[in-house]
């Protein structure tokens, strides 16, 4: 077939792409921040003394890890009007992505907490550290080191997952590919361009993680 790859055909759509890319970035950043907060809450629940709260935390993680994000997005998107709340598609996407990602964040943070043995809390206490000081100087640096690599992976996962927002009518990069492709019949070019946007975003996270890791953890120590 006479299909020739010519990027020039989609020049007129590049302005919209800039908007779409900004929206993908905004969506990802908001969801990452929110899911960190929710995830921290769930991680604390999972280490609670109360059995009920622990079970609640576990149930949350299991539900989020075993249900497709798309279904969660639809539930939130369609639940709004039923409960008399008008959610914009952007808000629905942020909530869905955050709730889903929080299930994974909780596990990452929990692993970080487990890595610090209880003896350290006691030792810090015996040294006369306050709770805040213990957290700031003893616990946090160790937790951060453990969660550093998986946190980077999760950030990339959220960026990729933000593509599903196109299913609830958010005009981000995947939606741009789909609409531009079907109006210009240039699916090959739009695919390549969209892929490059995601590749660049993901590789930026990767490089940033490497650079920051080298800065924070001095060389020779394991933090990929």
């Amino acid at each position: 077939m006479g299909y020739t790859f010519t990027l020039r055909t989609i020049y007129p759509y590049l302005g919209e792409l800039a908007h779409a890319a900004a929206l993908t970035l905004e969506l990802s950043l908001l969801s990452i921040a929110l899911s960190l907060i929710v995830g921290a809450g769930v991680a604390v629940l999972r280490r609670s003394r109360s059995r009920l709260l622990r079970a609640l935390g576990t149930a949350y993680v299991e539900v989020m890890r075993n249900t497709p994000l798309l279904v969660i997005l639809y539930i939130i998107y369609f639940a709004g009007p039923g409960m008399g709340v008008r959610l914009s598609s952007f808000a629905a996407a942020v909530i869905g992505l955050s709730l889903n990602s929080a299930g994974y964040m909780a596990e990452i943070l929990r692993a970080g907490l487990i890595a610090v043995s209880t003896g350290q809390f006691e030792a810090a206490d015996a040294q006369g550290f306050s709770r805040l000081q213990t957290f700031r100087y003893i616990i946090f640096p160790q937790v951060f080191r453990t969660i550093y690599a998986p946190l980077g992976n999760q950030i990339i996962a959220v960026i990729l997952a933000s593509s599903l927002a196109s299913a609830v009518a958010v005009d981000e990069v995947t939606s741009w590919m789909q609409t531009t492709g079907s109006t210009s019949f240039r699916f090959f070019e739009t695919f390549v361009v969209a892929a490059v946007v995601y590749l660049v975003l993901c590789q930026l996270v990767n490089l940033g993680r490497l650079a920051l890791g080298r800065l924070l953890f001095r060389q020779g120590e394991s933090a990929r």
Binding site: E62, N66, S101, M177, S182, F187
Partner: protein
């Protein structure tokens, strides 16, 4: 008026069967392809190693949905033959699964010590024999448990097939929702069905992990689905 939800149960269960079939097929192709890519990554030739690395990194850094769109809308335009939504979904899912599986298989191969390769070669085995009799059986221990995680991810990602119009579980739920009064019940039922299927699979995975005494279920990059 409440619709008779139970009347839709057989429809949903059959759709769940389709979702399982789609995911299983994609996983199978992904596992075979991933093993191939992993072997390329341990190849003696630099060019082959590089090609395998680019393949893995590409499919891990690109959302599966745009790959699916390309397979479904792009391939007919570029190559001039029609692709069914089922085929497009299977291929896109398999490409993604193969990139994660290649990492899993590579970790499996690397878990077998270098000395064993050398010993087997000293005993006169060729590369294929070493893989078949020495490395393979040991690597499978390391490969199997995380593969369960990849399968669950693939199963969740298979819901994206609904976006290109393949009528699997998610699409069926949406259609039921439209044909009734647009309530949340069909969507919640969807979530419950996916949860039951995936949770059951993850329990099997947990047993495998315990049997083989290795780390917990690892969701790899891009595993959110």
């Amino acid at each position: 008026m409440n619709p008779d939800w139970l009347a839709y149960a057989p429809l949903m269960l059959r759709a769940a069967g389709l979702t399982l079939w789609l995911s299983w097929l994609a996983m199978l192709i992904g596992a075979v392809g991933g093993t191939g890519v992993a072997l390329l990554r341990t190849s003696r030739f630099r060019l082959l190693r590089l090609a395998a690395l680019v393949y893995t990194e590409f499919f891990r850094s690109v959302p599966i949905l745009i790959v699916m769109f390309f397979c479904y809308f792009g391939v007919p335009l570029v190559f001039g033959f029609d692709v069914s939504s089922f085929a497009a979904a299977t291929i896109a899912l398999a490409l993604h699964a193969s990139s994660t599986m290649s990492e899993v298989v590579r970790a499996g191969i690397e878990s077998v010590g270098r000395g064993q390769w050398e010993a087997a070669q000293a005993a006169g085995m060729d590369r294929v024999q070493v893989m078949r009799y020495i490395v393979g059986p040991q690597a499978i221990r390391v490969v199997l448990p995380p593969s369960v995680g990849v399968f669950i991810t693939t199963l969740k990602e298979s819901s994206l097939a609904s976006i290109i119009g393949f009528i699997e579980l998610t699409k069926t739920g949406l259609l039921v929702r439209e044909s009734t009064d647009g309530g949340l019940v069909p969507l919640l039922a969807l979530a419950a069905l996916y949860f039951i299927i995936n949770y059951a699979i993850s329990l099997v995975g947990g047993r495998l992990e315990r049997r083989f005494h290795i780390g917990s279920r690892s969701d790899l990059v891009g595993a959110m689905g």
